[in-house]
Amino acid sequence: MIKVTAAEAARMAIEEAMAADPTVIALGEEVADPEGGGIRKVTKGLSTRFGADRVKSTPISEQAIMGAAVGAAIAGMRPVAEIMLMNFMTLALDQLVNHAAKIRYMSGGATSVPLTVRTMTGAGRSLGGQHSDMVEAWLAHTPGLKVVVPSTPADYKGLLYSCIFDDDPCVFVENSIHLSARGDVPVGLHAIPLGKAHIVRPGADVTIISYGRPMDDVKKVAESLGEEGISVEVIDLRTISPLDEAAILNSVAKTKRAVIVHEAVRSFGVGAEIAARIHEHLFGELAAPVQRLGMPYTPVPFSSALEKTILWSPEKITAAIRKTLG
């Protein structure tokens, strides 16, 4: 183990993947070393080590970036494309949704798109309405895409590595605050399976399901409620789609109570999908209605005073849990 930032952990994953397999290539705005190795340095050193042909800085052309990644993937490469911010994904959605996600299906399996898209986002830095959005629910709503949201530096490494070697298009959502957070990261090969949730903390009274940056507070709340004698089981989804339904249902069948916490807007969100599945399978066994915590139905405001009010907090998480306990 070494203690590094999530950005460095992601960099390690790409570097180790590139060293292991010559088909792994990277592209995106400013990802090569002459342009700084990415705005958060996640690709720093890679063009120097692996050559300018395999690590390419691109023009500011999101459609061309995503399209080139799709094409290279069809041709048998494993491209790792960086879309600087998740809001800029909107410009590349044709390539992602109409092509990357569907090409395998529409070709009857004749071609596939083993592509990884890294992108960064997250509220909490006063970046306002166009630089903060979590739109993972849009992507998870598209059959053919895999959507991964890591929450710890070790997971940044292990999940990104798995995305790169997965044969389907994966969107890997980095958090702009978390990228600077440090944690223990395994040295050498570290691959975490996609589509499998992580039971971070076992518990008996209530299940809390979350992913990404809110996980930090979820873990803290679980810990402090534990001191009060409330036993909280914590699930970190890691992969949004395909959703690890079995892990969720097994846990909630046991605890009979569930709280879902995500950063993204609550309405029509990932939490709604999870709540629906819990009700479909466990309706009669639930001791309380499922609680969902997410952003209100509003764009992300600039002012830090306002931004704080719309995001999750330990207090809101605690209140949601208490609500299920009656």
Partner: protein, 333 residues
């Protein structure tokens, strides 16, 4: 008609190449004839964007390509598919939505894919093939293959942002890609000059520091020459070319298009200059083959096409479970 005497003999396709172009074009023309007939009669229910009138472009490009070169095309792409060698039976079965189709009946005419002959992507989203072609070409470049990628699109597509992003990137990265714009003068119902602000699309290449040429795509020799030069340039690692091949579509945007948005006589004038007939006349005039030879070739092709159609109609539909297959390569339960 091109002034053939003005060019050295080596600057023209030889008799063999001309006949090869003709055979590919005939396959397209006769397939189109049959497809329209079975759609009109109700035997086949499918969206169909006839490429008739544009067949020389694909045929003259294809004879300059290798089997392992990549082709990307659009919903109006049957000519590109057949010219590159998609087997008739696989194509017909896909049009019919059958399990034996090249995409197991899950893509249809707008998404024909056949990696064995280099047909890697067919898209129904205008302009979206160009960025993908860059990626295919980038992969070839990294692997140091001398493979060429051709991406076909219409005049309307040159107004999409992706066109401009792609030309810029291809030029910067010196990619072995050919942007082949089949300018049939209409985008759906919109006449060229009402949707496109420049007289010649090839002039847009200037902005991206790459060669841009406008040719009569209906002239086999002119088109062959432009294709040859662009392929040679790409294969030699010298970078991309934009070819604007002027042409006309004979059957409107799609089956059933009334064509009322076209000026009177415009279509008729184009049909009188049928590029397929013109090629036949050229071949016969040059003595590369006789009328009878060409008729015999067409008869054989017609039989092959009839067999492919019969095969497709007799083939089985996919099982219901097939609808859930191929969403993911590695499924997670």
């Amino acid at each position: 008609m091109t002034d053939t005497t003005a060019h050295a003999a080596a600057d023209e396709p030889d008799a063999g190449a001309l006949l090869d172009i003709y055979k590919r074009a005939a396959t397209i023309v006769l397939t189109d004839e049959k497809l329209r007939a079975v759609i009109r009669s109700g035997r086949l229910s499918t969206p169909y964007y006839s490429p008739r009138g544009q067949e020389i472009i694909s045929a003259a490009m294809a004879v300059n390509l290798r089997k392992d070169d990549y082709v990307v095309t659009i919903y109006r792409g049957m000519h590109d598919h057949l010219a590159k060698g998609v087997p008739l039976k696989d194509l017909w079965a896909e049009y019919a939505g059958k399990a034996a189709g090249s995409c197991k009946g899950k893509g249809g005419p707008m998404h024909i894919t056949h990696p064995d002959v280099g047909v890697l992507v067919t898209t129904g989203i205008v302009g979206s093939g160009l960025p993908i072609a860059n990626g295919l070409a980038w992969a070839s470049k990294i692997r140091q293959e001398d493979r060429v990628t051709v991406t076909n699109f219409g005049d309307g597509a040159s107004n999409i942002g992706a066109f401009h992003e792609s030309l810029n990137m291809a030029s910067l990265w010196k990619l072995p890609v050919i942007f082949l714009c089949q300018n049939n003068r209409y985008a759906e119902h919109t006449r060229y000059d009402k949707g496109t602000s420049i007289e010649r699309i090839s002039d847009r290449a200037v902005s991206y520091s790459m060669p841009g040429v406008t040719v009569n795509g209906n002239d086999a020799i002119e088109m062959w020459r432009a294709a040859r030069d662009a392929v040679a340039r790409a294969r030699a690692g010298e970078g991309p070319t934009l070819i604007e091949a002027n042409t006309f579509r004979f059957h409107g945007h799609h089956m059933g298009d009334s064509g009322e948005y076209m000026a009177k006589g415009e279509l008729e004038a184009a049909m009188i200059r049928d590029p397929f007939v013109a090629l036949r006349q050229l071949i016969v005039a040059r003595g590369a083959a006789s009328d009878a030879d060409l008729t015999a070739m067409e008869d054989a092709l017609r039989t092959e096409i009839d067999e492919a159609a019969a095969y497709a109609f007799a083939a089985k539909y996919p099982e219901p479970e097939e609808a859930l297959e191929d969403v993911y390569a590695s499924a997670v339960s």
